[in-house]
Symmetry: C2
């Protein structure tokens, strides 16, 4: 069995690749550079995780055109990254328009070309601050798109086991699988010491604390 | 009104951009380089057409990662391009896996970032040799994906007026709109003189002949 795994270098995608490996899949990993501020660090983490997993392929894809398109503080470095704000009902400015459709389209092209059986993507609908392209309805529709847009002989299952999980659930799984979280990165803002205040840091730290686990990466600010 | 138009430099997408302009849209054009053999010529044509139309934006997107993924004679230059064969029921080897999903995902990202109302893509289900990502069901599903994967305040209509037309129908429209077909390119194989034998040439020449119009581009072989 072969699986294409989206490997950002964050804790979710890294845990998910360990899940796929544990299920017996050979891993074909894709890492995306879409001009995010912390790309250098994320790629280093993704490569390290890929090495630990013994992947069959590590494909780097340059999506920096997403920063030409603009519209997000994640890729437009003149915008400030929103700090996490529980009271906010709007989609935060780190949202990259339709990003996951871009990522999944490439993953599907690779999966069809390699005759893979599955694509693993670590989306979560709960913690992702309301990004529209992380919702279960989006994933269901994308599965339908794969079924209608590939050869009739191609059968690719989109696997999103984390979609209804919390980061705590994910950490519990990762702990059982011995995921080396010191080689993962979540912060949207910094590469050396995580900022501790952006949405990604907020959810990561909260999950480690709730699980009574120590987060092995360095932070700028103490909790 | 604003429209994102996919502009390959071929006769279909060029005609369609003229249709969008005629409907009153301001045009935001995207041209894709996905490592196809005839890219240099296609880009030249797309830029010329964009200039004639007075587009608001001409965005070049580098999708050469599709050739890293492989699986198509269009991007893998070690494979020979299939000649057109009417008896063949298989999908020809020029098929790039899930290509249109990649193109439409980027178009949707741009459309959402620019607050555009529509995306125009010149797909046809009839003449396209059975490519799975040109079928009406694929387009309907992609519309659904746009609706579920963008902000709730975003409303983008996927426009595919050519989907059930023949190339003859398209030429009839383009003739009325004075599309300068001398600045369009369809051949999959050559950049100086069209080969006349690949699928794209076959359908183009047949359409011009059936319409009793002269195709203004040069061919290697006489009909």
């Amino acid at each position: 069995m072969k699986a294409v795994c989206l490997l950002s270098g964050g804790m979710d995608s890294s845990t998910l690749a360990y899940v796929a490996k544990d299920m017996g899949y050979d891993i074909y990993s894709i890492h995306f550079n879409y001009g995010q501020r912390t790309e250098r660090k994320e790629k280093l983490c993704a490569k390290t995780i890929a090495g630990h997993l013994g992947v069959k392929e590590f494909l780097e894809i340059d999506l920096r055109y997403l920063s030409l398109i603009g519209g997000s503080s994640l890729t437009d470095h003149s915008q400030q990254v929103d700090a996490f704000d529980d009271s906010r009902e709007m989609i935060p400015n780190t949202y990259v328009p339709f990003r996951n459709a871009n990522l999944l389209s490439i993953a599907t092209s690779l999966a069809e070309a390699r005759s893979a059986d599955a694509i693993f993507i670590g989306v979560q609908s709960q913690d992702y601050s309301g990004y529209p392209d992380c919702r279960p309805g989006f994933i269901e529709t994308f599965q339908h798109l794969i079924d209608t847009g590939t050869r009739d002989t191609t059968h690719i299952q989109l696997m999103t086991p984390f979609i209804n999980m919390t980061k705590m659930d994910i950490l519990a799984i990762g702990r059982d699988l011995n995921v080396p979280y010191e080689h993962t990165w979540s912060c949207y803002q910094n590469e050396e010491r995580a900022c501790g205040t952006c949405g990604a840091c907020h959810f990561r730290r909260a999950a480690f604390m709730a699980m009574d686990m120590e987060d092995p990466i360095p932070y700028e600010q103490e909790e």
